[in-house]
């Protein structure tokens, strides 16, 4: 899939609670957005932050074809992401995209579980919309520290069933995603997950124990985003591979996690 570098124009900046923003942007020159797969990401250039040197890899949260808009869900962690959060409607956002490989889509009649934690839920919205389009009924299990960290729940509900866990019980069931009663009650054929590594490891362990196909989307500190610098490696059955190029989506059978 051809990669592009292009200037987007920010169409909306939606503050989600105090630690997240949703940036919606469209190509500045009005050209249609390129094809993008759920799970792929973009490298966003950060302008005007003296302490930020590199681009920031941000997964594709959603693609609104009708509006020709791509969404980026950004957690404010450092100077770079905080600077991105200051972008306002009409500002330019330079991106290199689409990067990496997406989730593999199901074939035939499968029951699908999408498990996200914190900002890791971002790529699952686009994936869910795609699955919904293909007439699957994805089940979303969203984990967060507390109610304030549950992101885009309404948007998820448009594409499937949503269950929630929070560590403090302020929303949904109390505990971790892997403790949710849903997993006792229902059987799934395929799991897609993205979030903090401990969560993904627990989900992967559950999947393997129950013989369920499972793909995880990894996050990693990256420089180039195209497999040139070899900085963002994950150790796999094939040795060190670039998360930016061979990932960010991996089948758990490829990984060397102790599960």
């Amino acid at each position: 899939m051809k990669k592009l570098i292009s200037d987007l124009r920010v169409t909306e900046n939606v503050a989600l609670h105090d630690r997240y923003v949703l940036l919606k942007a469209a190509p500045a020159d009005g050209t249609p957005l390129p094809e993008m797969l759920p799970g792929q990401f973009a490298e966003l250039r950060v302008d005007g932050s003296p302490t930020t040197f590199l681009r920031r890899p941000i997964s594709i949260n959603y693609v609104d074809r009708a509006a020709n808009e791509v969404w980026f869900l950004i957690q404010l962690v450092g100077d770079g992401t905080r600077q991105l959060a200051t972008l306002r409607q009409g500002d330019t956002l330079n991106v290199v995209y689409p990067l990496g490989n997406g989730f593999s889509l199901p074939s035939g009649d499968e029951r699908l579980l999408l498990v996200g934690g914190g900002v890791g839920t971002a790529p699952l919205l686009y994936l869910g919309s795609m699955l919904h389009e293909k007439e699957y009924a994805p089940h979303f299990l969203l984990g967060a520290r507390s109610a304030g960290d549950v992101l885009q729940a309404e948007a998820f509900r448009r594409f499937g069933t949503v269950d929630i866990t929070t560590e403090d019980g302020s929303a949904g069931e109390r505990g971790y995603v892997t403790q949710h009663s849903l997993l006792q009650k229902e059987h799934f054929d395929r799991i897609y997950t993205c979030g903090p590594k401990p969560m993904m490891v627990a989900v992967a362990r559950y999947a393997r124990a129950n013989g369920i196909a499972c793909e995880v989307s990894l996050e990693n500190t990256m420089a180039c985003g195209v497999g040139a610098c070899l900085c963002c490696v994950e150790n796999t059955r094939d040795g060190h591979v670039c998360v930016c190029k061979e990932g960010p989506v991996f089948n758990i059978e490829k990984l060397l996690w102790q599960i």
């Binding site: 500190t221 420089a223 070899l230 150790n235």
Partner: protein, 303 residues
């Protein structure tokens, strides 16, 4: 428009802008963004005799106006390169130069020997300055004697254009440059990365698995320019300048300081099209300055 051609020994480049080893993959990673045939050359990833897995993650840390990396020469080895990668890139219409690293004189020589038959690889860049592996060559690059010994060993078996990439982590880079010139190097390239370190204060840990790593990016440009200037006054062979070049003005600064060509490295991560922008910017500079050829400004600093 000004004539951009320059020669590095017997190697003639269509323009003085190459991409630096380890920052541009094998070129193909950037084919979607630029026309690779516009480049003066592509210096591909550090290659060793045997395959290397490189260092564990984390390998990268962002720093003020730069970054640290500790990749550790991850590559599949020279034979894999010859059999599987070379066929994929040999038809790119620019010079492909292979960066060669080793743990011993024999490693260097044997790797160079296996690359020499490749018609579309007219030159190698001998990396005697990788700071990220114990046997990564920096040991070779930090003393005149060892630097000379590597060049001598490779020169004996390699007939192509031999560029030696120098370490900035030395007291006197000029004497190292003179030592490799004396052993028959066709050119020197400088600077490789400065050895640096990053600390995570809250976690009280180093950011990099290897603790230290190689510093690159805009932050190192002043040191790189100084070393190019020093080496320019110490040797007669051509100098390939690199270190923090982010735009055409930076590149011109290196040419004025004495570099005959430049390498674009870390900047490729921030703008995958920067290399061609630098080529166009150098041409525009030369026109603006009324120069008919890039040769007119090489070492042209007025002091």
């Amino acid at each position: 428009m000004a004539d951009l051609r320059v020669n590095i020994g017997r190697l003639s480049l269509k323009n003085p802008v190459m991409t630096a080893s380890g920052t541009f993959g094998y070129g193909v990673e950037f084919a979607d963004f630029i026309d690779l045939s516009r480049l003066g050359g592509i210096i591909v990833k550090g290659t060793t005799l045997k395959a290397r897995e490189g260092n564990p993650y984390p390998r990268m840390a962002e720093t003020p106006s730069g970054m640290l990396n500790a990749v550790g020469l991850q590559n599949k080895g020279v034979d894999y390169f010859v059999e599987h990668i070379y066929p994929e890139i040999k038809d790119i219409d620019t010079h492909i130069i292979v960066n060669v690293s080793g743990a011993s004189l024999d490693d260097y020589a044997e790797t160079a020997r296996r690359l020499s038959p490749l018609e579309k690889i007219p030159a190698i860049e001998l990396n005697i300055s990788c700071p990220n592996v114990k046997e990564g060559g920096m040991a070779f690059g930090t003393s005149c004697r060892s630097a000379a010994s590597v060049v001598k060993a490779v020169r004996a078996v390699y007939g192509g254009t031999l560029i030696v990439k120098l370490s900035p982590n030395v007291t006197d880079i000029a004497e190292i440059a003179r030592a490799v010139e004396a052993e028959g190097a066709d050119a020197v390239s400088l600077i490789n990365t400065l050895l640096g370190m990053a600390v995570d204060a809250e976690r009280r840990r180093p950011v990099l698995f290897t603790v230290t790593g190689g510093l690159s990016g805009a932050c190192v440009k002043p040191v790189a320019l100084r070393m190019v200037w020093q080496v320019f006054h110490a040797v007669k062979i051509p100098i390939v300048g690199l270190g923090g070049i982010m735009n055409a003005t930076d590149a011109v600064e290196f040419l004025l300081a004495g570099a005959r060509a430049v390498e674009i490295g870390t900047a490729n991560f921030i703008d995958p099209q920067v290399s061609v922008k630098v080529i166009d910017g150098i041409a525009a500079y030369l026109d603006r300055q009324g120069c008919r050829s890039v040769e007119e400004i090489i070492g042209g600093l007025q002091v």
